[in-house]
């Protein structure tokens, strides 16, 4: 059992990396990776939100949608619930923990529309995960997202100092770097236990 749970985390973080293998959440991955500090904060916020969202989505699916046979409505319901959840989390943090809000808060609205969050919730249902498995899968996936965005931020800080040909400057070289990272992460596909 423990072996299986560990596998779920590693699979979410490395083998099925949400950004580099499933190509979800690319927008914030490219947008917020300019500064190392900001990308670490966003990674933290994503871990926080995705873990909670996976838990809520799992409960909602198991106890509301599945018994009523409303399986086909899960995408819409998840969008609705996740968007509201992020808002509530934001308000809660703003009141209860201003320090955490200062470091993560500005990224929370960004995550509302991050398809990685929805993607995790839907994948969990697809794989038939139970509650604990869903939470761990969400946590692992978010960990993978953080890993990818922090790595890209590091690469971009190096790229910035390079004397690039004009056509490659800015977005093009970042996309090339992200593509190379994606190819590198394909190496994890052979990882098995």
């Amino acid at each position: 059992m423990n072996h299986n749970l560990l596998l779920i985390i590693i699979s979410g973080a490395l083998i099925n990396n949400v950004v580099l293998s499933q190509f979800l959440g690319i927008c914030s991955f490219l947008g917020v990776s300019q500064q190392m500090k900001a990308s670490v904060s966003l990674g933290g916020a994503v871990i926080f939100v995705v873990t909670i969202a996976s838990a809520v989505a799992s409960l909602l699916y198991t106890y509301v949608l599945a018994p009523l046979g409303l399986d086909f409505m899960k995408t819409i319901v998840f969008i609705l619930v996740i968007a509201a959840l992020v808002q509530i989390v934001e308000m809660f943090l703003k009141k209860k923990s201003p320090a955490v809000y200062q470091s993560l808060g500005i990224f929370l609205p960004l995550i509302t529309t991050n398809c990685a969050v929805l993607g995790v919730a839907l994948t969990n249902v697809q794989n038939g995960y139970n509650f604990i498995e869903s939470v761990l899968s969400g946590f692992g996936t978010a960990l993978g997202y953080t890993l990818a965005i922090v790595l890209l931020a590091g690469i971009r800080s190096r790229i910035r100092e390079e004397d690039l040909p004009a056509p490659l400057r800015g977005a093009p070289i970042v996309l090339i770097a992200a593509a190379l990272m994606s190819i590198a992460f394909m190496g994890f596909a052979g990882l098995s236990f």
Binding site: V64, G69, M73, L80, V81, A84, M91, K94, K95, D163
Partner: protein, 266 residues
């Protein structure tokens, strides 16, 4: 038919619960927003130049409202904005020292020789990177106008191959200071009269070979100054503005007329 009704009912119910939850948390966790922050933000110029050292006008307004930044912290807005913000925050504004950009080069086409025509990308940084100085002086203004293009206030023009700042237009944002590949532009106090209009750090004879309006490092100015406000470092005169009384004696004595009262410039 039942399925449609159940679906509509369940989704509406979930929507209502979620909406009620949002309203509830919104009320329960309502945080007082500082009204002054919004008012300060209104008073700031809003061009987000970052000259104050904060990440833009919003960050600056938040810092002022919390009392972490001085009310006169905006160098662009200057006195009038400081007075407005001071009124909002209930603090004395104090005088803001307005700063303007100044090009430390006088090497126009008449005083320095041109090395030939440059036909590459019309950008100072590109020319410098390609190893082309355009003028004989390695330190002088390239004159391709990178600063001109950057200036949000259109305060810089290139005349006779040298950039010049229109002091009445300059807001002191410092974008040109960062952009100049030769590091020629500095921010000087606006009421300032004297400034060294050269950046050449070579020895006198070498300077004379390439430019007739360059600082020779002759030390005449340092001997003139009664307040020790001017020194020669690396063969280049440098004015220390905290000691300078703006008497202009150094400018009168300078043989190459490199020390100029910048007020005389356009």
């Amino acid at each position: 038919m039942d399925l449609i009704l159940i679906t509509t009912g369940v989704i509406t119910l979930i929507g209502l619960i979620v909406g009620a939850g949002l309203v509830f948390t919104g009320k329960k966790f309502y945080v007082e927003v500082d009204q002054r922050e919004a008012a300060v933000r209104e008073a700031l110029p809003g061009n987000n130049c970052g000259a104050c050292g904060f990440a833009g006008c919003d960050a600056m307004a938040a810092a002022i409202a919390k009392g972490e930044a001085p009310v006169n912290g905006c160098p662009v807005g200057g006195g009038p904005v400081a007075a407005k913000i001071g009124a909002i925050m209930g603090a004395e504004a104090g005088e803001v020292q307005r700063k303007v950009a100044f090009v430390q080069c006088k090497g126009s086409c008449q005083v320095t020789k041109n090395q030939g025509n440059y036909v590459g990308i019309p950008d100072c940084a590109s020319a410098v990177r390609a190893g082309l100085a355009l003028t004989d002086c390695d330190y002088g203004c390239v004159g391709l106008g990178t600063c001109v293009k950057l200036c949000p206030e259109h305060a810089i023009t290139v005349r006779d191959g040298v950039a010049m700042v229109n002091r009445s237009r300059c807001v002191g944002c410092g974008l040109c200071v960062k952009a100049c590949p030769k590091g020629l532009i500095t921010l000087l106090p606006a009421e300032n009269r004297v400034a060294v209009q050269c950046s050449n750090r070579d020895k006198g004879p070498q300077v004379k070979q390439v430019c007739s309006a360059g600082c020779l490092g002759c030390m005449l100015c340092t001997r003139q100054c009664e307040h020790g406000a001017i020194t020669v470092e690396n063969n280049l005169a440098r004015i220390h503005y905290d000691a300078c009384i703006q008497c202009g004696k150094c400018a009168e004595k300078c043989p190459a007329k490199v020390i100029t009262p910048p007020v005389a410039l356009p």
